[in-house]
Subunit: 218 residues, 2 copies
DNA sequence: GTATATCTTGGTCATATGACCAAACAAGAG
DNA sequence: CTCTTGTTTGGTCATATGACCAAGATATAC
C-alpha cells in the first residue's frame, strides 16, 4: 500500500462513516484526500472498489487485533472479556474501517461480498472457539444457546457505535466490562453478583478472576 | 392519512430498509407505489419529508405498542421481558419504519431531527421507568449502571435486525427471551441459572416467574 | 348538473454524479 | 542527459437525480 492509498483509504473510512457510502461522492473523497477525481480513479477504478478495499483491510486487521488480545489471556472468560474490550475499542476509537464493515456492507455486491463474508466467518469462529472452550471448562450454564450469547454480546457492542459518540462518559473498556459483567453474571439480584454479596456459601467463585486489572466499570 | 399516503409510506419503508435512504430514488418510490413522480411530489414535497413522516409515525406506533405490552404485565421483570419481545417483534416482523428509524436517522436534518430525538427520549424513558421500578423492588443487583443494562438489551435487539433475516431458526420471541434470560441471570454457570440448577437453597427464586408462557428458547 | 377542491399526468430543468481519458508532469535508472 | 515508468492534471461525457409545474382528469359538494 502506498502512502497516497493509505490517505485515500483513511478519508474514505471517515466519510463513509460520517455520511454513508451512497451519500459520499467521489469528488468529496478526492478533495478530502487532497487530490483530483482523476487521481482517485487512477488508484481505485470505482467507488465500490474503494469500499471493498477498506472493508477487507479493516476486517483483517480487526481479526488480528482480537486474536492477539485473546492469546495473552489465560482463562476462557478472560479471553471473552478481553475480546469484547478489543472489539469495542476498535469500533469506537480505532480507524473507521470496522464501523464501515458493520454499517455499509449492504453496498457491497458480487464476489467481494462473499470474500468479506468469509472474513466475518473467521471472526465469528474466534468467538465460537472461546465459547466452546468456556463450555468445555464447565463455565457456561446448561441449556443456553451459544449463538444467542454471541449475538447478545456482539450485538450490544456493535450497536454501541450508535450512542457512544454522544455519551463519552465511559471509556470503551468500561462499556465492554459492564456488558460482560451483566451478561456473564446477570443484572438480577439473584445472579452471582447479588448472590455473592448476600452469602459466602460459594467462596470458590471470585469476581476478581474476571476483573483482575482494577478498571471494572461502576 | 389517506390510503395513497399509506401506500407510499409502506413502499418507502420497504425500499429505505432494503437499499437505504440515499440509494433510493424518488422514481423508484413512485414506481413501487404505482404512481408517477409528480404524484409523489404532490403528497411529499421532498424525499426527506417522506423519510421524516415515516420515522415519526413508526416511532409513535412503536411507543404505543411497547407501552401496551408493558401495561398488561405485573412485575418489573415481566414488563422488561415483554417490552423486549415487543421491541424485537416490531423490528423484525412489524413494518419497516422502526428499522428505518434505527438505521437511517443520519439522513434526517434540521427540526425533524430534534422531533425524532424527543420521540426516542420518550421510548427510552419507558425503559428507564421499568429499570428503576426493578431497582425499587430490589430486583437489580447493586453497583450496576442502569444505562448499561439498557444499552446492552436494546443494543442486542437492535442489532438483531442485521442477522435475523438470514437466521430464521428462531422466532423473535425466542430471541428476546434468550437475551433476557442471559442478561438477567448470566451465562455463567455461577449465575442464577446455574446456581439454581445446582442447589435448591433459594426456592423462592422461580425462573417460571419470568418464563411463564412456555415458549422460552432452548 | 355545475362548481369547487383534490389529485394525476407527463414532462421539464438545473444540477450532481460516476466513470473515464489524453496530455502533461515527475522521478528514478542507465 | 534520456528513456521509461509511474502519477497527476484538468477536463469531458452520458446518465441519474431531486424538485417542480401547467394542464388535464376525477371526485366531491351543493
Amino acid at each position: 500500500m502506498t502512502k497516497q492509498e493509505g490517505i485515500v483509504l483513511g478519508v474514505a473510512g471517515r466519510l463513509f462513516r460520517e455520511k454513508g457510502f451512497a451519500a459520499t461522492t467521489v469528488r468529496e473523497l478526492a478533495t478530502a484526500a487532497g487530490m483530483l477525481p482523476g487521481s482517485l480513479h487512477y488508484r481505485f477504478p470505482t467507488k465500490e472498489s474503494l469500499l471493498v478495499e477498506l472493508m477487507e483491510r479493516g476486517m483483517m486487521q480487526a481479526i488480528e487485533r482480537v486474536r492477539a488480545a485473546i492469546e495473552v489471556e489465560d482463562t476462557p472468560l478472560n479471553k471473552m472479556r478481553s475480546a469484547l474490550r478489543e472489539h469495542l475499542s476498535i469500533l469506537v476509537e480505532g480507524d473507521d474501517a470496522i464501523y464501515v464493515n458493520l454499517y455499509e456492507f449492504r453496498s457491497v455486491t458480487g464476489a467481494a461480498r462473499a470474500r468479506i463474508l468469509r472474513l466475518r466467518d473467521a471472526y465469528e469462529a474466534l468467538w465460537d472457539g472461546m465459547l466452546h472452550a468456556a463450555v468445555g471448562a464447565g463455565l457456561i450454564r446448561a441449556g443456553l444457546d451459544l449463538r444467542m450469547v454471541r449475538f447478545l454480546l456482539l450485538g450490544a457492542v456493535n450497536w454501541s457505535a450508535q450512542w457512544y459518540e454522544e455519551n463519552q462518559n465511559y471509556t470503551p473498556g468500561e462499556v465492554a466490562d459492564a456488558f460482560f459483567s451483566i451478561s456473564a453474571f446477570g443484572f438480577c439480584n439473584d445472579g452471582v453478583g447479588g448472590l455473592l454479596a448476600q452469602s459466602a456459601e460459594r467462596p470458590e467463585v471470585q469476581l476478581t478472576d474476571v476483573f483482575d486489572d482494577g478498571d471494572r466499570s461502576g
